[in-house]
Protein backbone atom coordinates (compact mmCIF):
# COMPACT_ATOMS: atom_id res chain seq x y z
CA UNK A 1 0.00 0.00 0.00
CA UNK A 2 1.45 3.39 -0.98
CA UNK A 3 1.70 6.23 1.52
CA UNK A 4 1.69 9.97 1.12
CA UNK A 5 4.45 11.79 2.98
CA UNK A 6 4.73 15.54 3.38
CA UNK A 7 8.46 15.02 3.07
CA UNK A 8 11.19 17.39 4.20
CA UNK A 9 13.81 18.11 1.54
CA UNK A 10 17.07 16.97 3.11
CA UNK A 11 19.25 18.11 0.21
CA UNK A 12 18.99 19.10 -3.42
CA UNK A 13 22.30 18.65 -5.22
CA UNK A 14 22.50 20.40 -8.57
CA UNK A 15 24.57 18.19 -10.85
CA UNK A 16 24.38 20.71 -13.70
CA UNK A 17 22.10 23.54 -14.78
CA UNK A 18 19.61 20.85 -15.82
CA UNK A 19 19.96 17.93 -13.43
CA UNK A 20 19.53 17.72 -9.67
CA UNK A 21 19.23 14.95 -7.10
CA UNK A 22 16.53 15.71 -4.55
CA UNK A 23 16.72 13.79 -1.27
CA UNK A 24 13.46 13.47 0.68
CA UNK A 25 12.94 12.25 4.25
CA UNK A 26 10.44 9.50 3.59
CA UNK A 27 11.31 6.40 5.63
CA UNK A 28 7.89 4.79 5.06
CA UNK A 29 8.30 4.95 1.28
CA UNK A 30 11.98 3.96 1.44
CA UNK A 31 11.07 0.90 3.51
CA UNK A 32 8.56 -0.35 0.93
CA UNK A 33 10.31 0.63 -2.30
CA UNK A 34 11.40 -1.99 -4.82
CA UNK A 35 13.67 -1.43 -7.82
CA UNK A 36 12.06 0.45 -10.69
CA UNK A 37 9.08 1.73 -8.71
CA UNK A 38 8.07 5.38 -8.78
CA UNK A 39 6.66 8.16 -6.60
CA UNK A 40 4.23 10.97 -7.42
CA UNK A 41 5.76 14.27 -6.32
CA UNK A 42 3.82 17.52 -5.89
CA UNK A 43 6.09 20.37 -6.96
CA UNK A 44 3.96 23.21 -5.54
CA UNK A 45 1.93 23.71 -2.38
CA UNK A 46 -0.94 25.41 -4.19
CA UNK A 47 -3.00 24.70 -7.29
CA UNK A 48 -0.56 25.90 -9.97
CA UNK A 49 0.94 23.68 -11.21
CA UNK A 50 -1.86 21.43 -10.06
CA UNK A 51 -0.83 17.84 -10.63
CA UNK A 52 1.92 15.64 -9.23
CA UNK A 53 4.72 14.32 -11.42
CA UNK A 54 5.94 10.74 -11.58
CA UNK A 55 9.61 10.11 -10.75
CA UNK A 56 11.53 6.87 -10.55
CA UNK A 57 12.95 6.22 -7.10
CA UNK A 58 16.65 6.91 -7.76
CA UNK A 59 18.12 5.87 -4.42
CA UNK A 60 16.89 4.29 -1.23
CA UNK A 61 18.81 5.93 1.61
CA UNK A 62 19.60 4.06 4.78
CA UNK A 63 21.23 4.59 8.13
CA UNK A 64 24.38 2.63 8.89
CA UNK A 65 22.18 0.08 10.67
CA UNK A 66 20.37 -0.47 7.39
CA UNK A 67 17.23 1.31 8.56
CA UNK A 68 15.62 3.12 5.55
CA UNK A 69 15.41 6.90 6.00
CA UNK A 70 14.51 8.42 2.66
CA UNK A 71 14.60 8.34 -1.08
CA UNK A 72 16.08 10.48 -3.79
CA UNK A 73 14.85 11.36 -7.26
CA UNK A 74 16.89 12.32 -10.31
CA UNK A 75 15.26 15.47 -11.67
CA UNK A 76 15.80 17.02 -15.10
CA UNK A 77 14.57 20.58 -15.47
CA UNK A 78 12.30 20.60 -18.51
CA UNK A 79 9.04 22.27 -17.45
CA UNK A 80 7.26 24.22 -14.74
CA UNK A 81 7.12 21.39 -12.21
CA UNK A 82 10.66 20.12 -12.68
CA UNK A 83 11.93 23.71 -12.44
CA UNK A 84 10.27 24.08 -9.02
CA UNK A 85 11.85 20.81 -7.92
CA UNK A 86 15.25 21.89 -9.25
CA UNK A 87 14.92 25.09 -7.18
CA UNK A 88 13.67 23.39 -3.98
CA UNK A 89 15.77 24.24 -0.93
CA UNK A 90 16.64 21.98 2.02
CA UNK A 91 14.00 22.22 4.74
CA UNK A 92 11.14 22.75 2.27
CA UNK A 93 8.29 20.26 2.27
CA UNK A 94 7.24 18.32 -0.81
CA UNK A 95 4.34 15.88 -0.89
CA UNK A 96 5.48 12.48 -2.11
CA UNK A 97 3.18 9.50 -2.76
CA UNK A 98 4.52 6.01 -3.24
CA UNK A 99 5.97 3.57 -3.86
CA UNK A 100 3.91 2.87 -6.96
CA UNK A 101 3.96 0.65 -10.03
CA UNK A 102 5.26 -2.72 -11.11
CA UNK A 103 8.95 -3.08 -10.21
CA UNK A 104 11.80 -4.65 -12.17
CA UNK A 105 12.33 -8.34 -11.58
CA UNK A 106 16.10 -8.77 -11.17
CA UNK A 107 17.48 -11.92 -12.77
CA UNK A 108 19.55 -14.33 -10.73
CA UNK A 109 22.89 -15.96 -11.59
CA UNK A 110 23.98 -17.49 -13.84
CA UNK A 111 21.90 -15.05 -15.92
CA UNK A 112 23.43 -11.62 -16.47
CA UNK A 113 21.63 -8.26 -16.32
CA UNK A 114 22.38 -5.57 -18.88
CA UNK A 115 20.94 -2.19 -18.00
CA UNK A 116 20.63 0.33 -20.83
CA UNK A 117 20.15 3.97 -19.81
CA UNK A 118 19.83 7.16 -21.85
CA UNK A 119 20.09 10.56 -20.10
CA UNK A 120 17.61 10.92 -17.24
CA UNK A 121 16.66 7.30 -17.97
CA UNK A 122 19.43 6.41 -15.53
CA UNK A 123 16.94 7.03 -12.72
CA UNK A 124 15.50 3.53 -12.09
CA UNK A 125 18.82 1.67 -12.36
CA UNK A 126 20.65 2.41 -9.14
CA UNK A 127 18.01 0.56 -7.11
CA UNK A 128 18.08 -2.28 -9.64
CA UNK A 129 21.90 -2.43 -9.48
CA UNK A 130 21.67 -2.77 -5.67
CA UNK A 131 19.18 -5.61 -5.97
CA UNK A 132 21.37 -7.36 -8.57
CA UNK A 133 24.45 -6.98 -6.37
CA UNK A 134 22.55 -8.53 -3.46
CA UNK A 135 21.68 -11.52 -5.66
CA UNK A 136 25.24 -11.80 -6.93
CA UNK A 137 24.08 -11.25 -10.52
CA UNK A 138 26.70 -9.98 -12.95
CA UNK A 139 25.54 -6.58 -14.18
CA UNK A 140 26.53 -4.17 -16.96
CA UNK A 141 25.35 -0.60 -17.49
CA UNK A 142 25.27 0.71 -21.05
CA UNK A 143 24.88 4.42 -20.43
CA UNK A 144 24.48 7.08 -23.10
CA UNK A 145 24.47 10.87 -22.80
CA UNK A 146 25.29 13.92 -24.89
CA UNK A 147 28.77 14.40 -23.42
CA UNK A 148 31.05 13.08 -20.68
CA UNK A 149 29.91 15.57 -18.04
CA UNK A 150 26.28 14.44 -18.48
CA UNK A 151 27.17 10.93 -17.30
CA UNK A 152 26.27 10.89 -13.61
CA UNK A 153 26.84 8.53 -10.69
CA UNK A 154 29.05 6.17 -12.68
CA UNK A 155 31.22 5.60 -9.56
CA UNK A 156 28.13 4.54 -7.57
CA UNK A 157 27.40 1.85 -10.14
CA UNK A 158 31.04 0.75 -10.27
CA UNK A 159 31.07 0.53 -6.47
CA UNK A 160 28.26 -2.02 -6.78
CA UNK A 161 30.41 -4.07 -9.14
CA UNK A 162 28.58 -2.97 -12.27
CA UNK A 163 30.63 -3.00 -15.48
CA UNK A 164 30.22 0.37 -17.20
CA UNK A 165 29.95 0.82 -20.99
CA UNK A 166 29.54 4.55 -21.62
CA UNK A 167 28.67 6.23 -24.92
CA UNK A 168 28.50 9.94 -25.69
CA UNK A 169 27.14 11.75 -28.72
CA UNK A 170 30.30 13.87 -28.95
CA UNK A 171 32.68 11.01 -28.16
CA UNK A 172 34.05 12.73 -25.03
CA UNK A 173 33.74 9.46 -23.07
CA UNK A 174 33.31 5.89 -24.28
CA UNK A 175 31.95 5.09 -27.71
CA UNK A 176 30.96 8.02 -29.93
CA UNK A 177 27.28 8.04 -30.84
CA UNK A 178 24.25 6.36 -29.35
CA UNK A 179 24.50 3.66 -26.71
CA UNK A 180 22.84 1.22 -29.12
CA UNK A 181 26.17 0.96 -31.01
CA UNK A 182 28.20 -0.78 -28.29
CA UNK A 183 25.07 -2.64 -27.15
CA UNK A 184 24.57 -4.18 -30.59
CA UNK A 185 28.21 -5.29 -30.69
CA UNK A 186 27.95 -6.82 -27.23
CA UNK A 187 24.70 -8.62 -28.05
CA UNK A 188 26.30 -10.11 -31.14
CA UNK A 189 29.24 -11.52 -29.14
CA UNK A 190 27.50 -13.14 -26.16
CA UNK A 191 29.01 -16.56 -25.43
CA UNK A 192 26.84 -19.48 -26.60
CA UNK A 193 24.55 -20.70 -23.86
CA UNK A 194 24.85 -17.51 -21.79
CA UNK A 195 21.65 -15.97 -20.49
CA UNK A 196 21.28 -12.16 -20.62
CA UNK A 197 18.30 -9.99 -19.77
CA UNK A 198 18.04 -6.35 -20.84
CA UNK A 199 16.52 -3.55 -18.78
CA UNK A 200 15.98 -0.25 -20.60
CA UNK A 201 15.00 3.30 -19.72
CA UNK A 202 15.52 6.46 -21.76
CA UNK A 203 14.09 8.48 -24.63
CA UNK A 204 11.37 6.61 -26.52
CA UNK A 205 13.32 6.27 -29.81
CA UNK A 206 16.23 4.76 -27.87
CA UNK A 207 14.01 2.31 -26.00
CA UNK A 208 12.39 1.31 -29.26
CA UNK A 209 15.81 0.76 -30.87
CA UNK A 210 16.98 -1.35 -27.93
CA UNK A 211 13.76 -3.38 -27.97
CA UNK A 212 14.34 -4.07 -31.67
CA UNK A 213 17.92 -5.19 -30.98
CA UNK A 214 16.82 -7.41 -28.10
CA UNK A 215 14.18 -9.01 -30.28
CA UNK A 216 16.66 -9.54 -33.13
CA UNK A 217 19.15 -11.20 -30.78
CA UNK A 218 16.44 -13.16 -28.98
CA UNK A 219 17.02 -11.66 -25.53
CA UNK A 220 14.31 -10.83 -22.97
CA UNK A 221 13.94 -7.09 -22.50
CA UNK A 222 12.04 -4.99 -19.95
CA UNK A 223 11.43 -1.29 -20.58
CA UNK A 224 10.56 1.36 -17.99
CA UNK A 225 8.25 3.81 -19.75
CA UNK A 226 7.78 7.44 -18.81
CA UNK A 227 4.20 8.46 -19.56
CA UNK A 228 2.33 11.63 -18.63
CA UNK A 229 0.41 10.68 -15.48
CA UNK A 230 -2.50 12.32 -13.69
CA UNK A 231 -2.80 10.32 -10.51
CA UNK A 232 -0.45 7.31 -10.43
CA UNK A 233 -3.13 5.09 -8.90
CA UNK A 234 -5.24 4.00 -11.87
CA UNK A 235 -7.96 6.60 -11.42
CA UNK A 236 -7.58 8.83 -14.46
CA UNK A 237 -6.66 6.59 -17.42
CA UNK A 238 -4.27 9.20 -18.82
CA UNK A 239 -0.97 7.24 -18.76
CA UNK A 240 -2.09 4.50 -21.11
CA UNK A 241 0.23 2.52 -23.36
CA UNK A 242 -0.95 0.52 -26.38
CA UNK A 243 -0.02 -3.14 -25.86
CA UNK A 244 -0.36 -6.28 -27.94
CA UNK A 245 -2.66 -9.12 -26.97
CA UNK A 246 -2.85 -12.66 -28.24
CA UNK A 247 -5.97 -13.19 -30.33
CA UNK A 248 -7.32 -9.66 -29.85
CA UNK A 249 -6.55 -6.18 -31.16
CA UNK A 250 -4.02 -4.02 -29.26
CA UNK A 251 -5.30 -2.56 -26.03
CA UNK A 252 -4.56 0.53 -23.92
CA UNK A 253 -3.32 -0.37 -20.43
CA UNK A 254 -2.52 2.00 -17.57
CA UNK A 255 1.21 2.50 -17.19
CA UNK A 256 0.84 3.35 -13.48
CA UNK A 257 -0.70 -0.04 -12.64
CA UNK A 258 0.64 -2.45 -15.27
CA UNK A 259 3.92 -0.53 -15.66
CA UNK A 260 6.02 1.49 -15.66
CA UNK A 261 8.03 -1.69 -16.35
CA UNK A 262 6.77 -3.65 -19.36
CA UNK A 263 8.04 -6.55 -21.41
CA UNK A 264 9.30 -4.70 -24.50
CA UNK A 265 7.56 -7.21 -26.77
CA UNK A 266 4.14 -6.09 -25.53
CA UNK A 267 4.55 -2.46 -26.58
CA UNK A 268 3.11 -1.16 -29.85
CA UNK A 269 6.02 1.24 -30.38
CA UNK A 270 4.47 3.01 -33.37
CA UNK A 271 1.69 4.26 -31.06
CA UNK A 272 3.94 5.60 -28.30
CA UNK A 273 4.18 9.39 -28.18
CA UNK A 274 7.75 10.69 -28.42
Amino acid sequence: MPCDIDAVVRSNTRLSDEYSVLVLDAPEIAGLARPGQFVMVKPSRGSDPLLRRPFSIFQILREESGQPTGISILNKRIGVGTRLIYDAEPGARIACLGPLGRPFEPVEPPAQAWMVAGGVGLAPFLTLAEALAALGTRATLFYGARRARDLYYTEAFEALGVRLVPATEDGSRGAKGFVTGPLDDALASIAPGASVKLYVCGPTPMMRAVATLADFHGRPCDVSLEQVMGCGLGGCYSCVVLTRRVGAPPHFVRSCLEGPVFDAGRIVWEALAH
Binding site: M1, V228, C231, Y237, S238
Partner: protein
Amino acid sequence: MDLSVSLGSLRLPNPLIAASGCFGYGVEYSDVVDLSILGGVAVKGLFLAEREGHPPPRIVETPSGMLNAIGLQGIGVHRFVREKLPELRDRRAIVVVNICGTTIDEYVELARILSDAGGIAALELNISCPNIKEGGITFGCSLTGTHAVVSAVRKVTRLPVIPKLTPNVTDVASFARAAEDAGADAVSLVNTFLAMAIDVETRRPKLSNIVGGLSGPAIRPIAVRMVYECRQAVKLPIIGMGGISTAADVLEFMIAGASAVQIGTANFVDPFLWSTLLEGLRAYMDRQGIARLADITGTLDTTRREQAWISS
Protein backbone atom coordinates in the same frame (compact mmCIF):
# COMPACT_ATOMS: atom_id res chain seq x y z
CA MET B 1 -22.96 15.99 14.49
CA ASP B 2 -24.94 14.76 11.49
CA LEU B 3 -23.17 14.87 8.14
CA SER B 4 -25.72 12.76 6.31
CA VAL B 5 -27.56 14.12 3.30
CA SER B 6 -30.50 12.95 1.21
CA LEU B 7 -30.94 12.89 -2.53
CA GLY B 8 -34.62 12.06 -2.74
CA SER B 9 -34.93 8.50 -1.44
CA LEU B 10 -31.16 8.01 -1.40
CA ARG B 11 -29.49 8.71 1.93
CA LEU B 12 -25.73 9.21 2.09
CA PRO B 13 -23.58 9.25 5.26
CA ASN B 14 -21.96 12.48 4.07
CA PRO B 15 -22.07 14.66 0.95
CA LEU B 16 -18.70 13.63 -0.52
CA ILE B 17 -18.96 11.50 -3.66
CA ALA B 18 -15.97 10.51 -5.78
CA ALA B 19 -16.62 11.89 -9.27
CA SER B 20 -17.01 9.65 -12.27
CA GLY B 21 -13.92 9.44 -14.45
CA CYS B 22 -11.66 10.47 -11.60
CA PHE B 23 -11.77 7.38 -9.41
CA GLY B 24 -11.47 4.47 -11.83
CA TYR B 25 -13.96 1.79 -10.83
CA GLY B 26 -13.36 2.60 -7.16
CA VAL B 27 -11.50 -0.65 -6.53
CA GLU B 28 -8.23 0.97 -7.64
CA TYR B 29 -8.46 3.13 -4.50
CA SER B 30 -9.51 0.46 -2.02
CA ASP B 31 -5.92 0.14 -0.71
CA VAL B 32 -5.65 3.88 -0.12
CA VAL B 33 -9.14 4.87 1.05
CA ASP B 34 -11.76 3.11 3.14
CA LEU B 35 -14.48 3.31 0.49
CA SER B 36 -17.22 2.99 3.12
CA ILE B 37 -16.40 6.42 4.59
CA LEU B 38 -17.28 8.15 1.32
CA GLY B 39 -20.75 9.51 0.66
CA GLY B 40 -20.57 7.57 -2.58
CA VAL B 41 -18.40 6.35 -5.42
CA ALA B 42 -19.40 7.34 -8.95
CA VAL B 43 -17.59 4.84 -11.14
CA LYS B 44 -16.07 5.54 -14.52
CA GLY B 45 -18.65 5.93 -17.30
CA LEU B 46 -19.81 2.60 -18.69
CA PHE B 47 -21.05 1.73 -22.13
CA LEU B 48 -22.62 -1.63 -22.96
CA ALA B 49 -19.39 -2.70 -24.70
CA GLU B 50 -15.70 -2.23 -23.95
CA ARG B 51 -14.08 0.89 -25.43
CA GLU B 52 -10.45 1.78 -26.05
CA GLY B 53 -10.74 5.57 -25.80
CA HIS B 54 -8.45 8.13 -27.39
CA PRO B 55 -4.71 7.77 -27.98
CA PRO B 56 -2.39 9.67 -25.63
CA PRO B 57 -1.67 12.45 -24.85
CA ARG B 58 -4.94 12.36 -22.97
CA ILE B 59 -4.31 15.07 -20.36
CA VAL B 60 -2.52 18.39 -20.19
CA GLU B 61 -2.09 20.77 -17.29
CA THR B 62 -3.45 24.31 -17.51
CA PRO B 63 -3.39 27.14 -14.94
CA SER B 64 -4.98 25.68 -11.77
CA GLY B 65 -6.61 23.02 -13.85
CA MET B 66 -6.25 20.29 -16.40
CA LEU B 67 -7.71 19.27 -19.73
CA ASN B 68 -8.62 15.69 -20.40
CA ALA B 69 -9.76 13.76 -23.43
CA ILE B 70 -9.72 10.16 -22.27
CA GLY B 71 -12.55 9.18 -24.59
CA LEU B 72 -14.34 6.96 -22.08
CA GLN B 73 -12.03 3.97 -22.23
CA GLY B 74 -13.80 1.30 -20.28
CA ILE B 75 -14.53 -2.35 -19.65
CA GLY B 76 -18.24 -2.26 -20.47
CA VAL B 77 -21.16 -2.97 -18.19
CA HIS B 78 -20.96 -6.77 -18.19
CA ARG B 79 -17.36 -6.95 -17.04
CA PHE B 80 -18.08 -4.22 -14.48
CA VAL B 81 -20.89 -6.25 -12.94
CA ARG B 82 -18.78 -9.42 -12.98
CA GLU B 83 -15.35 -8.11 -12.02
CA LYS B 84 -15.73 -4.86 -10.06
CA LEU B 85 -19.13 -4.72 -8.40
CA PRO B 86 -18.55 -7.65 -6.01
CA GLU B 87 -15.48 -5.95 -4.51
CA LEU B 88 -17.30 -2.61 -4.25
CA ARG B 89 -20.08 -4.40 -2.36
CA ASP B 90 -17.56 -6.15 -0.10
CA ARG B 91 -15.98 -2.78 0.68
CA ARG B 92 -19.42 -1.38 1.53
CA ALA B 93 -19.13 1.41 -1.02
CA ILE B 94 -22.26 3.34 -1.99
CA VAL B 95 -22.07 2.81 -5.72
CA VAL B 96 -23.31 5.32 -8.27
CA VAL B 97 -22.91 3.90 -11.76
CA ASN B 98 -22.35 6.43 -14.53
CA ILE B 99 -23.82 5.16 -17.82
CA CYS B 100 -23.26 6.32 -21.40
CA GLY B 101 -25.05 5.37 -24.56
CA THR B 102 -25.12 6.35 -28.20
CA THR B 103 -28.88 5.77 -28.40
CA ILE B 104 -31.75 5.92 -25.92
CA ASP B 105 -32.11 2.16 -26.24
CA GLU B 106 -28.54 1.71 -24.98
CA TYR B 107 -29.22 3.84 -21.88
CA VAL B 108 -32.36 1.76 -21.26
CA GLU B 109 -30.47 -1.50 -21.69
CA LEU B 110 -27.72 -0.34 -19.31
CA ALA B 111 -30.30 0.75 -16.74
CA ARG B 112 -32.02 -2.65 -16.95
CA ILE B 113 -28.79 -4.61 -16.53
CA LEU B 114 -27.65 -2.50 -13.57
CA SER B 115 -31.06 -2.53 -11.88
CA ASP B 116 -30.91 -6.33 -11.90
CA ALA B 117 -27.29 -6.44 -10.69
CA GLY B 118 -28.00 -5.51 -7.07
CA GLY B 119 -25.83 -3.45 -4.75
CA ILE B 120 -26.10 -0.25 -6.77
CA ALA B 121 -27.35 2.92 -5.12
CA ALA B 122 -28.09 5.13 -8.13
CA LEU B 123 -27.60 5.63 -11.85
CA GLU B 124 -25.91 8.74 -13.14
CA LEU B 125 -26.71 9.40 -16.80
CA ASN B 126 -23.70 10.68 -18.65
CA ILE B 127 -25.24 13.04 -21.20
CA SER B 128 -22.38 15.48 -20.96
CA CYS B 129 -19.01 13.99 -21.86
CA PRO B 130 -17.40 16.51 -24.22
CA ASN B 131 -14.87 14.02 -25.58
CA ILE B 132 -16.87 11.62 -27.67
CA LYS B 133 -18.69 12.57 -30.82
CA GLU B 134 -21.53 10.10 -30.77
CA GLY B 135 -24.41 10.01 -28.27
CA GLY B 136 -23.98 11.31 -24.75
CA ILE B 137 -23.58 15.00 -25.12
CA THR B 138 -25.96 15.19 -28.09
CA PHE B 139 -28.69 14.31 -25.57
CA GLY B 140 -27.21 16.68 -23.01
CA CYS B 141 -27.18 19.64 -25.40
CA SER B 142 -30.81 19.33 -26.41
CA LEU B 143 -33.74 19.90 -24.04
CA THR B 144 -35.88 17.34 -25.84
CA GLY B 145 -32.96 14.87 -25.89
CA THR B 146 -32.42 15.31 -22.14
CA HIS B 147 -36.12 14.84 -21.48
CA ALA B 148 -36.31 11.79 -23.73
CA VAL B 149 -33.34 9.91 -22.26
CA VAL B 150 -34.30 10.64 -18.64
CA SER B 151 -37.92 9.58 -19.10
CA ALA B 152 -36.94 6.43 -20.97
CA VAL B 153 -34.57 5.35 -18.20
CA ARG B 154 -37.09 6.40 -15.54
CA LYS B 155 -39.58 3.90 -16.93
CA VAL B 156 -37.28 0.87 -16.54
CA THR B 157 -35.62 1.35 -13.15
CA ARG B 158 -36.47 1.97 -9.54
CA LEU B 159 -32.96 3.20 -8.86
CA PRO B 160 -32.55 6.95 -8.42
CA VAL B 161 -31.85 8.50 -11.84
CA ILE B 162 -29.36 11.37 -11.87
CA PRO B 163 -28.57 12.99 -15.22
CA LYS B 164 -25.14 14.66 -15.23
CA LEU B 165 -25.42 18.01 -16.98
CA THR B 166 -22.95 19.75 -19.23
CA PRO B 167 -21.97 23.36 -18.66
CA ASN B 168 -21.46 23.78 -22.41
CA VAL B 169 -24.95 25.21 -22.96
CA THR B 170 -26.36 28.72 -22.77
CA ASP B 171 -28.78 28.07 -19.90
CA VAL B 172 -27.98 25.06 -17.75
CA ALA B 173 -31.02 25.66 -15.52
CA SER B 174 -33.39 24.88 -18.39
CA PHE B 175 -31.72 21.46 -18.67
CA ALA B 176 -32.22 20.85 -14.96
CA ARG B 177 -35.88 21.70 -15.50
CA ALA B 178 -36.15 19.27 -18.43
CA ALA B 179 -34.62 16.57 -16.22
CA GLU B 180 -37.08 17.34 -13.42
CA ASP B 181 -40.05 17.24 -15.79
CA ALA B 182 -38.87 13.86 -17.08
CA GLY B 183 -38.82 12.33 -13.59
CA ALA B 184 -35.18 12.58 -12.55
CA ASP B 185 -34.45 12.13 -8.84
CA ALA B 186 -31.56 14.59 -8.84
CA VAL B 187 -29.17 16.30 -11.23
CA SER B 188 -25.40 16.45 -11.04
CA LEU B 189 -23.41 19.35 -12.48
CA VAL B 190 -21.06 20.37 -13.91
CA ASN B 191 -19.22 18.07 -16.26
CA THR B 192 -16.08 19.62 -17.77
CA PHE B 193 -15.89 22.73 -19.91
CA LEU B 194 -14.93 22.15 -23.53
CA ALA B 195 -11.46 23.64 -23.89
CA MET B 196 -8.18 23.51 -25.79
CA ALA B 197 -4.44 24.01 -25.40
CA ILE B 198 -1.83 24.44 -28.14
CA ASP B 199 1.94 23.93 -28.23
CA VAL B 200 3.08 27.13 -29.94
CA GLU B 201 6.47 25.71 -30.95
CA THR B 202 5.00 22.81 -32.92
CA ARG B 203 1.61 24.51 -33.52
CA ARG B 204 0.01 21.23 -32.56
CA PRO B 205 -2.83 20.65 -30.10
CA LYS B 206 -1.58 19.36 -26.74
CA LEU B 207 -4.28 16.65 -26.72
CA SER B 208 -4.57 13.94 -29.35
CA ASN B 209 -8.31 14.65 -29.51
CA ILE B 210 -7.51 18.37 -30.18
CA VAL B 211 -10.14 19.51 -27.65
CA GLY B 212 -10.88 18.23 -24.16
CA GLY B 213 -12.67 19.00 -20.93
CA LEU B 214 -11.36 21.54 -18.40
CA SER B 215 -11.57 20.64 -14.72
CA GLY B 216 -9.93 21.68 -11.46
CA PRO B 217 -9.96 24.82 -9.31
CA ALA B 218 -9.97 27.03 -12.44
CA ILE B 219 -13.64 26.19 -13.15
CA ARG B 220 -15.00 26.34 -9.61
CA PRO B 221 -16.56 29.82 -9.64
CA ILE B 222 -18.43 29.08 -12.88
CA ALA B 223 -19.65 25.76 -11.52
CA VAL B 224 -20.86 27.39 -8.28
CA ARG B 225 -22.80 29.96 -10.32
CA MET B 226 -24.42 27.19 -12.38
CA VAL B 227 -25.46 25.25 -9.28
CA TYR B 228 -26.94 28.47 -7.90
CA GLU B 229 -28.92 29.02 -11.13
CA CYS B 230 -30.25 25.48 -11.10
CA ARG B 231 -31.26 25.86 -7.46
CA GLN B 232 -33.54 28.75 -8.48
CA ALA B 233 -35.07 26.72 -11.32
CA VAL B 234 -35.82 23.29 -9.82
CA LYS B 235 -36.80 21.58 -6.59
CA LEU B 236 -34.69 18.51 -7.39
CA PRO B 237 -31.71 17.76 -5.22
CA ILE B 238 -28.49 18.92 -6.89
CA ILE B 239 -25.08 17.25 -6.75
CA GLY B 240 -22.56 20.04 -7.30
CA MET B 241 -19.05 19.66 -8.63
CA GLY B 242 -16.26 21.54 -10.34
CA GLY B 243 -12.84 22.15 -8.82
CA ILE B 244 -13.62 21.21 -5.22
CA SER B 245 -10.47 20.59 -3.22
CA THR B 246 -11.16 21.90 0.31
CA ALA B 247 -13.97 21.73 2.88
CA ALA B 248 -14.68 25.41 2.17
CA ASP B 249 -15.20 24.52 -1.49
CA VAL B 250 -17.69 21.79 -0.50
CA LEU B 251 -19.57 24.28 1.67
CA GLU B 252 -19.60 26.88 -1.11
CA PHE B 253 -21.43 24.46 -3.41
CA MET B 254 -23.84 23.42 -0.65
CA ILE B 255 -24.68 27.00 0.27
CA ALA B 256 -25.26 27.71 -3.43
CA GLY B 257 -27.81 24.92 -3.45
CA ALA B 258 -26.14 21.51 -3.69
CA SER B 259 -27.30 18.68 -1.43
CA ALA B 260 -24.14 16.69 -2.12
CA VAL B 261 -20.94 17.20 -4.09
CA GLN B 262 -18.54 15.24 -6.23
CA ILE B 263 -14.78 15.49 -6.08
CA GLY B 264 -12.71 14.61 -9.11
CA THR B 265 -9.50 16.31 -10.08
CA ALA B 266 -8.49 17.00 -6.46
CA ASN B 267 -8.44 13.25 -5.88
CA PHE B 268 -5.62 12.97 -8.43
CA VAL B 269 -3.58 15.49 -6.46
CA ASP B 270 -4.38 14.05 -3.02
CA PRO B 271 -5.99 10.62 -2.87
CA PHE B 272 -6.11 10.91 0.92
CA LEU B 273 -8.19 14.10 0.92
CA TRP B 274 -11.48 12.49 2.01
CA SER B 275 -10.73 12.36 5.72
CA THR B 276 -9.26 15.89 5.60
CA LEU B 277 -12.48 17.17 4.00
CA LEU B 278 -14.67 15.39 6.55
CA GLU B 279 -12.63 16.89 9.39
CA GLY B 280 -12.97 20.31 7.77
CA LEU B 281 -16.75 19.95 7.52
CA ARG B 282 -16.99 18.91 11.17
CA ALA B 283 -14.83 21.87 12.23
CA TYR B 284 -17.12 24.22 10.29
CA MET B 285 -20.26 22.74 11.88
CA ASP B 286 -18.66 23.04 15.27
CA ARG B 287 -17.64 26.66 14.64
CA GLN B 288 -21.05 27.64 13.25
CA GLY B 289 -23.13 25.59 15.71
CA ILE B 290 -24.69 23.49 12.94
CA ALA B 291 -26.08 20.13 14.02
CA ARG B 292 -27.17 18.86 10.60
CA LEU B 293 -24.94 19.61 7.64
CA ALA B 294 -27.89 19.13 5.25
CA ASP B 295 -29.45 22.28 6.74
CA ILE B 296 -26.94 24.53 4.98
CA THR B 297 -28.03 23.53 1.49
CA GLY B 298 -29.35 26.54 -0.39
CA THR B 299 -28.84 28.95 2.51
CA LEU B 300 -27.12 31.62 0.45
CA ASP B 301 -27.96 34.97 2.01
CA THR B 302 -28.52 37.52 -0.72
CA THR B 303 -30.74 39.86 1.26
CA ARG B 304 -28.53 41.44 3.91
CA ARG B 305 -27.01 44.12 1.74
CA GLU B 306 -30.40 45.30 0.46
CA GLN B 307 -31.83 45.47 3.99
CA ALA B 308 -28.87 47.49 5.13
CA TRP B 309 -29.67 50.04 2.47
CA ILE B 310 -33.33 50.16 3.45
CA SER B 311 -32.72 50.59 7.17
CA SER B 312 -30.09 53.26 6.81
